[in-house]
Symmetry: C2
Subunit: 227 residues, 2 copies
DNA sequence: CAAGCGATAGTCAACGTTGAATAAAAAGTA
DNA sequence: TACTTTTTATTCAACGTTGACTATCGCTTG
C-alpha cells in the first residue's frame, strides 16, 4: 500500500538520519499500527525498498558491542520529490474508504432480525465507549497548559474530532437500524433467529475494547506532567 | 484479509454451485472492487485456498469446446461453520477503519496554510459530488416501484445512507478546518505556501471522479425498467 | 467478410505483508 | 545475587495480493 511507503518516507524525512527501530518507535507512539495498519515487518521492508528505489540512502551502519547493527537512513533528492508528489496526489484526490464492518454487514440477513438487532446495539455500545475515550483524549489535548504544550498538533486533533463525530453518527445509525430490523422492515429472514444463549455464546467470544492503558501510554509522551 | 475470504465464502454459499467467474461477476455487480478493494486475482486464489482448507469442494470441472475449463464449487459443512463463525466474530466485534486520507493528512503541515486550505476545499467539492450521486442512487432505490422491487436490499440501502451522512460530516469538517488553516490556527508553517500555479499544476494531475456511467451500470440490474 | 472489441475463464510470477524467530543489553524483581 | 521480563534491532520464510498475460467465443462495424 502507498500508505506504508508514504508514512516511512515522511518519517525518515522528518527524523533523518534515523534507523529502522526509531521509525518504528515513532509509528508506535502515533498509534499507527491501529489507524494505518502498518506492522514492524513492513517498515524494514519499506526502508530497503525505498533505498533500492533511490528514495533513501544509507548514512551509516553502526555496531555497538554485540548488539544488532543499526542502519541509518536519509532521504535523497529523488525521495524528496516522490514525497512531495505522492503527498499531493493523495491529499488532492479522493479514494474510497474500506470499512470492514460493511463487508460482513452484506451478509447480515443470515443473522435474522433478532440477532441483527442485538448485534447492532452491542456495536453501538462498543463504539460509544471508544467515543468517550476519544472525547477524554481531546479534553486533555485542549486543556493541556499551552506553555508546555500538549504536543498533539492541531491538525491531528482535528482529525480526531472528525473521527469522534463519525462515531456519534454510527452509534445513532446502529440504534435506528436495530429498530428497523426488529420491525421486520429490512426483510431479514425471520426463520433464522438465534436463541438468547447462542447470542450470549458469541458475545463471549468477542475481543473486548483495547485496554484504556494502552491508549493512555501513547498519550503519555505529551501529557506526562498532566497527572 | 479476512474480508476477501468471507466475501468469497459468503458468495459461494449463496450462489452454489458456482465457478470463479460467476463469483467475480457478482462482486463486480456489487461494486465490491471499490468498497472492499477485492481484485479478480484474489478471487481465484481465495477459491483455491478455501478448497485446500476444506471449506469448499469442487463440484465439477466442465469444458465447453476449447474454452477455458470452468471449475464449480460448493461449501462443505466445515465451510458453513467457518462462515457462521467468522461472520459473527466480525459483526459483533469492532475493528478500526483505515482512512488513507488521514495517513497523508499527517504530513499536511508540509503544504503550508494556503495550499492546505485550497486542498480541503477541493476535497469538500469532490465529496459533495459523490454525495449527490449517493443521494440520487438512494432516491431511485426508494421510489422504485415495490412490485418489481428495486432489488437493492434494505440493509444495503441503510449502509449507503450511513455512508452518505458520513460524507456530509466530512464536507463540513473540510470547510471548517480550511478556515482554521487559513487563520493560522493549526500551526502550519507559513514559509512553505505554494503559488497559485503550483496548486493548479497539482490539481491537473488528480484523478477525477469515477465516471457516473460506471456507477449507473452497477445499478442497472435493479432498475433496468426505471428509465 | 475480415478486423476489432468485449466478454468469458482462468493462470502465474513478482511483489508486499506479516507473524515468528533471533539475540543481546537493560531494567525490574525476589 | 540470580532470575525474568522488557526493550533494542533486525531478519526471514510463508502467505496473500495484484497486474499482466493467455486464449477462445461471439458480436458488431466498416
Amino acid at each position: 500500500m502507498w500508505t506504508t511507503r508514504l508514512l516511512i518516507l515522511g518519517l525518515v524525512r522528518w527524523l533523518q538520519p534515523v534507523h529502522g527501530y526509531d521509525v518504528l518507535k515513532e509509528l508506535t507512539s502515533w498509534n499507527a499500527e491501529d489507524w494505518a495498519k502498518i506492522k514492524p515487518g513492513s517498515v524494514y521492508h519499506g526502508l530497503k525498498k525505498l533505498t533500492t528505489d533511490g528514495c533513501l540512502e544509507v548514512v551509516s551502519t553502526e555496531q555497538v558491542d554485540k548488539r544488532p547493527a543499526r542502519t541509518s537512513y536519509r532521504v535523497t533528492a529523488k525521495g524528496e520529490t516522490e514525497f512531495q508528489q505522492v503527498l499531493r496526489e493523495k491529499l488532492w484526490g479522493i479514494e474510497p474508504v474500506v470499512d470492514p464492518f460493511f463487508v460482513a454487514w452484506s451478509f447480515a440477513p443470515v443473522l435474522g432480525p433478532r440477532e441483527a438487532a442485538a448485534m447492532l446495539r452491542n456495536r453501538a455500545a462498543l463504539i460509544t465507549a471508544q467515543m468517550r475515550q476519544n472525547l477524554a483524549w481531546l479534553d486533555v489535548a485542549d486543556s493541556g497548559d499551552p506553555t508546555a504544550g500538549s504536543f498533539i498538533p492541531g491538525h491531528v486533533q482535528e482529525a480526531m474530532r472528525l473521527a469522534t463525530d463519525a462515531m456519534r453518527l454510527t452509534v445513532d445509525w446502529c440504534e435506528r437500524v436495530a429498530v428497523r430490523a426488529e420491525n421486520g422492515e429490512l426483510g431479514f429472514d425471520d426463520e433464522r433467529g438465534y436463541s438468547e444463549e447462542t447470542i450470549e455464546h458469541w458475545r463471549r467470544h468477542i475481543r473486548t475494547l483495547p485496554d484504556p492503558a494502552t491508549l493512555r501510554s501513547s498519550l503519555r509522551r505529551g501529557v506526562d506532567e498532566g497527572e
